[in-house]
């Protein structure tokens, strides 16, 4: 199973999904209209490392995080 977490202001409970790559996650999340804006402006990390490609492979136990726009300080 893959755990998907939504950070900061994204008001959504974590998901436990049976997927093999980020592309499958994109397809799943795009079915939820209220996620559209967050999908467009958020970065993605796998096991706390930012990733930049959709065909990033996922294995059992991986954690995916969605990071919306930031503003520290």
């Amino acid at each position: 199973m893959i755990r998907v977490e939504f950070l900061g202001p994204i008001q959504k409970d974590p998901l436990e999904l049976d997927i093999n790559n980020l592309s499958q996650l994109a397809t799943l999340l795009q079915e939820t209209p209220e996620m559209a804006e967050w999908l467009a402006n958020s970065a993605v990390a796998v096991n706390d490392t930012l990733v930049s490609t959709l065909n990033f492979p996922l294995k059992d136990g991986d954690k995916v995080s969605m990071l919306p726009p930031v503003c520290g300080g």
Binding site: A26, L29, V44, D48, C71
Partner: protein, 147 residues
């Protein structure tokens, strides 16, 4: 040294601690940057969420970068609510050289603003309102929106 605190920062104590820690390290230049909550837009304060695992990795990468220039960085940030005129952020650089320190604090603070996984909320009428318009999408954002 990265340290997170609940609420506003005790700026004089943190600055004194950092200065004392490096007092015999033979650094010629010490530049702190202190960020303080401004009274504007009728807010009562700001509030912060932090995702610590990625913040720590981000900070560690900057520590390595500092080391290549013989510099040291330290940082403190608030979690949760910080009221007007309290400080929520201190970063600093120590370096043997003035030029390195001046350039490094600039680069570090700018990348902090663009990349550190911290989310800011306005506090208004006791509510927390995400400051989307002042926020920056992390480099590479939008990956999961691609169809």
């Amino acid at each position: 040294m990265l340290k997170l605190y609940d609420g506003g920062l005790d700026v004089p104590t943190i600055l004194e601690t950092w200065y004392t820690e490096e007092s015999k390290s033979n650094y010629g230049a010490f530049i702190p940057f202190i960020g303080t909550i401004r009274d504007e837009d009728d807010i009562e304060g700001l509030s912060f969420d932090i995702y610590e695992p990625i913040l720590e990795k981000w900070f560690k990468a900057w520590q390595e970068k500092a080391k290549t220039r013989n510099a040291v960085i330290k940082m403190a940030h608030s979690r949760g609510d910080v009221l007007l005129h309290e400080s929520s952020y201190i970063a600093c650089v120590f370096s043997p050289k003035r030029r390195v320190a001046l350039e490094f604090i600039n680069e570090f603070v700018e990348d902090f603003k663009a990349s550190a996984p911290i989310w800011k909320y306005d506090l208004k009428n006791g509510k927390r309102i995400y400051a989307l318009d002042r926020s920056t999408a992390i480099k590479g954002s939008g990956l999961l929106g691609v169809k």
